[in-house]
Symmetry: C2
Subunit: 434 residues, 2 copies
Amino acid sequence: LHQLNENKLQDCLKDLHPADIAEALPRVPLAQRVRVMRAAGPEKAALILYELDRDMIPPLLEALGPKRLAEVLNDMSDDDAADILGELPENQKDQLLNLMEDAEANDVRELLKYGKNTAGGIMTTEYVSLKEDITVARAIDHLRQVGSEVETIYYVYSINENAELTGVISLRELIMAPPDARLEQVVTRRVVSANVWDDQEKVARMVAKYDIIAIPVVNDHNQLLGIVTVDDVLDVLEEEATEDILKLANLDVGGQDLVETGPWQRAFRRLPWLVGLLFGGLIAGNVIKGFSGTLEQVTALAFFITAMAGGPGNAATQSLALVVRGLATGEVNQRRLLKTIFKEAQVGAIVGIVSGAVLALVAVLWQGNTSLGLVVGLALAINITISTMLGSFFPVIIQRLGADPAVASGPFISTLMDVTSMFVYFSLATWLLL
Amino acid sequence: LHQLNENKLQDCLKDLHPADIAEALPRVPLAQRVRVMRAAGPEKAALILYELDRDMIPPLLEALGPKRLAEVLNDMSDDDAADILGELPENQKDQLLNLMEDAEANDVRELLKYGKNTAGGIMTTEYVSLKEDITVARAIDHLRQVGSEVETIYYVYSINENAELTGVISLRELIMAPPDARLEQVVTRRVVSANVWDDQEKVARMVAKYDIIAIPVVNDHNQLLGIVTVDDVLDVLEEEATEDILKLANLDVGGQDLVETGPWQRAFRRLPWLVGLLFGGLIAGNVIKGFSGTLEQVTALAFFITAMAGGPGNAATQSLALVVRGLATGEVNQRRLLKTIFKEAQVGAIVGIVSGAVLALVAVLWQGNTSLGLVVGLALAINITISTMLGSFFPVIIQRLGADPAVASGPFISTLMDVTSMFVYFSLATWLLL
């Protein structure tokens, strides 16, 4: 890279995909990144910038100068520009918006009004809408003209004089329609649309469900405000899946970048959960303390505490993950809800009894004590059955209450089961062994 | 529905989106489902069928008759038909393939050759490819003719006489190009393509990375075999995210339908992991047994076993989920690997020391024993630090060894940490308290 002069560099960049350039940039020093961004020209630089990891942007802004960056943002689609600006500090954001072209800056300001996780926050205002009375041939001509400025020309939306969405036609249908037909004759009237305040996950699932490339976004008066394209939908679904995974692992990241935060910030995001769960473990410990008389008489009971605490926790996690993910993807829906919970109860019983039998057998062989075997086996069977059921219906209740099933279920069930498991175990032991 | 006569029903169905009909069908009895499928006509029935939950298909096949179903499959895009047929028993699959039109059946047979999780398994052969010497105007004419038969007309692929992929042009670029230009003058030469044997997740990530609507699939000789469209990519990414979530919860489902398997099948899919983890807990119990002298002298040690076993497990899970998901989405990449692991080590130390301090404080207040507080605090700090580091670098090693980091890491780390935690805890106790 160092040896290339500017012309060579430009030639080189022309042949490369922006996503590939963005992938390679982190490996070269900042000065070279600036050279590449300059040589690429504003349009390509815009595409590269959007693909870059967000943590690389502030230093690049510094080095490239706000004026140059504003030019690049002008050439970026407005939703992408809003994404990038939304993550910058207020003063840098305002500075850049002021340096951008007015029309573009206003579009971006408009988008920044909506919450990051709403349809409005991920939509672009660069779409094609036309009045219904123009002909198919004129519509196609129009697409030729605006083709390079809009995010997609694969859907044309028809609107009336009040800017209300009245229909949609895909470019595919458009080029197959008779050229002299009027749009009103050929558009589809039943348009799948999203409300501008809809949650981004809902919007993404609609696009996935109807297998469309873009979905129109309207306000409460059915006026067309923008579109959400499938490439953004892919990002949303990935983001939501990541969030669910981390929440199930008791990590509430709140949509922040996972990799690029400092260790202290990371640690303090994890600590509340860890410490909370620690207290769960301590409450269970307090249950054990209540039975210390039993424990002192049968020390062997302590050898099974780790298995007895871990087993039901693992069983609950399995059930929980299945149901939480099912709720997110819609695989566990209204129709299947009761069926799923009922089936999980059966699964819990089967899994509990088999695990209990295994543990009982091991206990008898290891400790040579049949009564002890009976106690640990029975306790584990009961605890796993309860925890599996709990893992399946607790997230459903949480969702009914309007909360996020992924984040609230884990710690609660975990703590509850720690306590329940120890109580059942030591109660049975006191009753059967003493 | 019962009261509608056939004409009314047909009118009704015309206005509804196939995805909505498919969502409503489970709520009506089988006889009505059959009526709907008949009334919809083969083309719409094909779209409905593909959207249906897979478990509803065999009874519908039974009731609708194989002949009728074969007609519906004829009208389905070949990749979707292959999906559905691939999940039916061999004899039903062969019967249907024999009843289908030859051309369509051969396409589907071809697709069934590839593994379900490969590019070949999710591609369609219904795409548009043209020789390079035809003009833009003729290419658009061609699209008008084949528009209703292919999966997407938004990309036209150019091929040479050996059927090798030579270029690509989007419909958008095509309608903006001069009508009398030849394809060879306007196509993009650097085509992003997938190999037919590539894993579906790799293909999906390529489509997401390059923000394209379809990706061409070629064989080892760069001959064009099909395309994968973005709607299938959405399904793949959802499926892969679900798999990762379930694997992290120690549930290896092997891509099977989650909700519709029987309780015994479900139970026996979970049991190996649960029982395996149980033995992990028992090994930890054996460590405790080795220290039973210490335990008999200081019974209070038992009160902290649940917290001591749970804390490091939870910390490892947090770190593990973060890294496993990061590896899957590419957020944790080569460049960031060492940085991530190093940062996790720091996070582990911070989290460990803080948690340890909290536990020590609680122990002192609860038990009134400073030495005991020191023991539990120190043990927890050490164990959480180790487990966080383990959670971050173990999946990386597993991936380097070519295995799936999501499935192998959890149980191993969990068992290892159970044992380590108890060993560290009771060693410190023996050393400092006796």
